[in-house]
Symmetry: C2
Subunit: 301 residues, 2 copies
């Protein structure tokens, strides 16, 4: 219960989704570290990938992720890696997310510290992405990762793909890693009372940024075959700027065009408290409300 | 960041609202104690009363409140006390409120432990109230406090007002104290676009428990003269059973009868995260949502 404790979240993706013993070794540095808390880790065998969710104070979190990346380099050989998910390194991508008393800019600094450290210690090439990117072309992870591990040896020898840290040649077994700061991502889906996929697909295109919609919304239409309905499945990439209630109300408005109704919505995985409290404040028309009035925010500040 | 930490809130009311040095002495045990956090304390000169908000783990919180009550007995003399707010003791009332990983029943046990302790150490008569009350007649603090300090010497000599702990005679300078467990209270007001007090008064009567409304809602109509509007001013005494959105929507429905509209609402003071997240879940029609998905709930569990 100390004052103004800083908390950062980190969601590293490792290219190992089948050998549970190796995954345990990789997450061990997060378990062992004071000031760091391992919230979750999940492996996907088809993707051959593990996604770890960890929070902590900046300094111990930085030390723990550097150590975990060291273990990943020891136990993963990308030359033997096969899986459905695009990937380019043993530690594929390391996003840092501000949670409490941390500015986005501080999260960028944390990502750069870690990039410098792992480049030096492990001779690993690192690209900075998202908010940490040195240029617009490097903001999008998909751009960086295009060509994947197999194409990366050639790609990073090109002047325009010189890594931000480390050598301009891949680590022979561990490839390259992208590290950066981003805002919390909320996986948010809205369900429609129709089985017509076309309608979900069109509404997704209407509300997402890519095709004319809200700035921090990515989305696609999907079918929920077991329920006989369709869904607009979204990633909200900055809920502080594109609020959940805004996309929910917008989908209700678009649905009218097709004579269908919104029947509910769902949040997948973790969601920051503020994303939902802001939604409550909108619907109740709360006047003069501050997050400082939330009991839990006061208890843990 | 340990696992399953228990947190209880305590909001003791002390009968001193004018002498800031005395108030500082009273709150000192909350500052000094590991595992306890003093969130807020406010004095009211007209009421001649101080309200303290403190949270902590059960054991250190119990020790700190016993110590603070000891200081209150030293520095407050009820024979000299005057103020607008009804009161019966140097420490007038001590509610314990479950916040995290604490059941209402555990909060009752905590209140009884403290009642036994202060009765023994300070020879102070204590009434258990709210969820800790031994009989329905003692649930309501107003019932217990009727007669106030001046009438209490005679009242507690009556068999039906024998205290739950301590002697059946008042502490000469510190009077008597009520201690109990209750649910978090949310002060919630809804604003109407009229200056007609009568409408706020009638809607308050329609939505509050006392006169036919929702079980855990107390309310009155008030005028906001500077804004030229009226307000339904409420205390929601158990948001887990009477949700904020329910009373908000009900007031909108009642307002139609008078041709007026709800223009907004406000939360006064602290509100538990869950009260607002439950509201967001209602308006978004969230399916399968669990509080375990709230990042902050996971970080601090």
């Amino acid at each position: 219960m100390s004052s103004m404790k800083q908390i950062v979240q980190c969601v590293p993706n490792f290219s190992e989704g089948r050998d549970l013993k190796k995954i345990e070794k990789i997450v061990e540095p997060f378990r062992a570290k004071d000031g760091v808390k391992l919230l979750d880790y999940q492996n996907d065998e088809d993707h051959n990938r593990a996604v770890v969710t960890v929070v902590g104070a900046p300094e111990p979190l930085k030390e723990a992720i550097v150590a975990a990346m060291g273990v990943a380099i020891e136990v993963i050989d990308m030359r033997l890696h096969q899986g459905q998910h695009p990937r380019m390194g043993a530690t594929d991508v390391v996003p840092f997310i501000p949670v409490k008393n941390v500015t986005p800019q501080e999260a960028v600094e944390i990502s750069k510290d870690v990039a410098g450290k792992v480049a030096g210690e492990y001779n690993l090439p690192v690209f900075l992405y998202e908010k940490s990117a040195a240029s617009p072309a490097r903001q999008n992870l998909a751009n960086i990762r295009k060509g994947q591990f197999e194409g990366m040896a050639e790609k990073i020898s090109l002047p325009q793909w010189k890594p931000d840290y480390g050598p301009a040649e891949i680590h022979p077994s561990a490839g390259v890693t992208a590290i950066g700061a981003r805002m919390p991502l909320v996986a948010y889906n809205v369900n429609l009372d129709t089985d017509n996929f076309e309608i979900a697909d069109r509404i997704a295109k209407q509300v997402r940024h890519l095709s004319g919609g809200l700035r921090y919304c990515k989305g696609i239409g999907i079918e929920l075959k077991d329920r006989g309905i369709v869904q607009v499945s979204m990633n909200m990439t900055d809920y502080t700027k594109t609020a959940l209630y805004r996309v929910f109300e917008l989908i209700k408005i678009e649905a009218r065009r097709y004579g269908v109704n919104v029947v509910g919505s769902e949040v997948i995985g973790l969601v920051p408290m503020e994303a939902l409290i802001d939604t409550a404040a909108y619907y109740l028309g709360l006047e003069g409300f501050s997050m400082e009035q939330v009991l839990e925010a006061r208890i843990y500040e």
